[in-house]
């Protein structure tokens, strides 16, 4: 997280080849996690088949990081919940075997790998590794999945059914994801440029992220969730409604629950993919929401790419780190805001300012939307 934040501050994009694929060495081995003996032997076993276990290893990596912070218990207990968000799960494992089957009739390998296809197995194996037997969810609702997961965890904790919830997100790069977005001519071969007049698409990336959420005031917190909102567009399978109507429902719900006016926000980290339609819909909705208020609007996706289901958690975590340092992270690649978009405060530069409230939004295929309002832990009601 520290390296990612530094990259955002320095304006250093991780996008190298237009797909945003990160180097495997970023994740493996696990230099900063001290494993117990029994965990080490299990992990060693998993690492013998990196392709098959890539998503699981990424999830374990971030889960242990979150659980082993100084301020938290280092394992999930009976009163805890677990939520994982992903769309690809272990798709990369069996899609290559499918290619072998189609092109070379390598049936046995495909038969073996395809048994791994169900997303639920990922959750099951993660739970086994963490020795967790409590309630869990595996959310697969496209690019809004992890922000949805955070929202569900917030409501779950407040319902009193769980005390804490570990919310994980994971996307691994697959040929299907890359070719699928290319088939829609949605990918850019340059660093993406959200809200810019020359924006030409998104950068795909892979990531895993973890947030440990608790209601307890005994635990030092890094931020407080004060509002969540979920909605659907009911408009189109792949394009948001041009006015961002569905997203607006989610954002208004989150603000209502936070008991805030939009003008009280200090920062909006938009979904901001860099696609023509997404940015236009978000801008239209935000213009309607903000009126003349000049809340800074940014997107860090040009730095780390669009991590699909994991993007909400990854960007929320980045926002929290930046908020606690009194910084609004800039939108790399934004040179000239698109004049056809409403005139909003699209922020190109790093801003140092006190941030009390911020809004994070996510949109996804199928018309799914999520919004989250966070409050700086140093401020009270």
């Amino acid at each position: 997280m520290e390296k990612l934040l530094e990259a955002c501050i320095a304006g250093r994009s991780g996008i190298r080849d237009g797909t945003g694929r990160v180097d495997d060495s970023l994740w493996l081995p696990f230099p900063d996690i001290s494993l117990r003996d029994e965990e080490f032997s299990q992990l060693d076993f998993l690492r013998k088949d990196l392709q098959r276990n890539r998503a699981l290893l990424m999830l374990i990596h971030v889960a242990l990081q979150a659980l082993r912070t100084e301020s938290s218990r280092d394992a999930l207990g009976e009163r805890d919940g677990l939520i994982v968000a992903t769309t690809t799960s272990r798709l990369a494992n069996w899609e290559q075997a499918y290619r072998g089957f189609i092109q070379h009739q390598a049936a046995e390998d495909f038969l073996l790998r395809f048994g791994d296809r169900q997303s639920g197995l990922l959750l099951q194996e993660l739970s086994n590794f963490l020795k967790f037997r409590g309630p869990s969810f595996l959310v697969v609702s496209a690019c809004a999945a992890q922000l949805q997961a955070i929202s569900i965890a917030h409501q779950w904790i407040h319902s009193g059914q769980v005390d804490r919830c570990l919310v994980l997100g994971c996307e691994t790069m697959s040929e299907m994801t890359q070719e699928g977005f290319r088939s829609f001519q949605l990918t850019s071969f340059q660093v993406s440029r959200p809200f810019d007049q020359e924006r030409d698409g998104i950068n795909l990336s892979e990531a895993a992220s973890a947030l440990l959420m608790s209601r307890s005031s005994d635990v030092p917190s890094i931020a407080k969730i004060v509002g969540v909102g979920l909605s659907s567009d009911a408009y189109h399978m792949t394009s948001p409604s041009p006015e961002g109507v569905g997203l607006g429902i989610a954002v208004k719900e989150a603000l209502l629950r936070a008991q805030l006016e939009a003008s009280q926000l200090d920062w909006i980290h938009a979904h901001g993919t860099g696609s023509r339609h997404n940015d236009a819909a978000e801008a239209a909705m935000l213009s309607s929401l903000l009126g003349g208020s000049k809340v800074p609007i940014t997107s860090t996706k040009p730095i780390h790419g669009h991590a699909l289901a994991c993007s909400g958690g990854l960007e929320a975590a980045l926002c929290i780190e930046a908020m606690n340092r009194g910084m609004v992270l800039p939108t790399l690649g934004l040179k000239t805001p698109d004049p056809t978009l409403p005139a909003l405060n699209f922020s190109k530069q790093l801003q140092k300012r006190s941030i009390r409230y911020l809004l994070k939004t996510c949109l996804g295929f199928g018309g799914v939307n999520a919004a989250l309002v966070l409050r700086n832990h140093e401020f009270t009601d």
């Binding site: 046995e108 395809f114 296809r117 639920g120 595996l138 697969v140 319902s159 829609f184 979920l230």
Partner: protein, 214 residues
Amino acid sequence: MNSLIELHLHILDAAIYSESEAASPQLASAFRKATPAMQMICTVADKILQKRTNEARKNLASILATEDGELDSSLSFLRGFYEEGYPRPIQFQNSLHHATLGFLGIQYGLQGASVTLSQGKGSDLAALRLASIWLKSGQAREVLVCSLDFPPHTGVEHFIKIAEPMLAPQFQALFEKRRPASALLLTKELSNQALGKETAFESIEALARAYLSI
């Protein structure tokens, strides 16, 4: 034993998809680009949603529990790409597990929260647990919970066509399981229509059958 009472849920309506049923005429034209899972969910949900007003539909939250989701479209997409070098956008958009619920939302104007859960045999219980959380938190007053699984026929047929015959039974066994679509409309508020007695459940389909037999 899990029960609806423990989850503070009450059934307002239920429906089960029957393979002998044809889609309603209003839906048929919309199904041109729909996957079998989309057709199944619309057909079963229609039995519940046609009784609700447009305003009620607009605010309805929806949850789908599925194991294989839209895997059939994933295999079709990859097959087109690997065999012909032509990735078809429609198959990609349909390949996401959430596409099923997204399609239902478009057909019926559902603008409430919508989440797709895919966690094996635990999917149905997770869906009911999420409905309980949403109803308790005020996220929604009514939640439509759907459950279905459609075996990826594309992969099966193609496999059997070109693979070694001796492996075909093993592959088919991966897809033997099929769950017809079922749907429940849930609320936390008791009404004359609601099934308030303690009801243990094995699956959403079993709950729907129990409700409909009353």
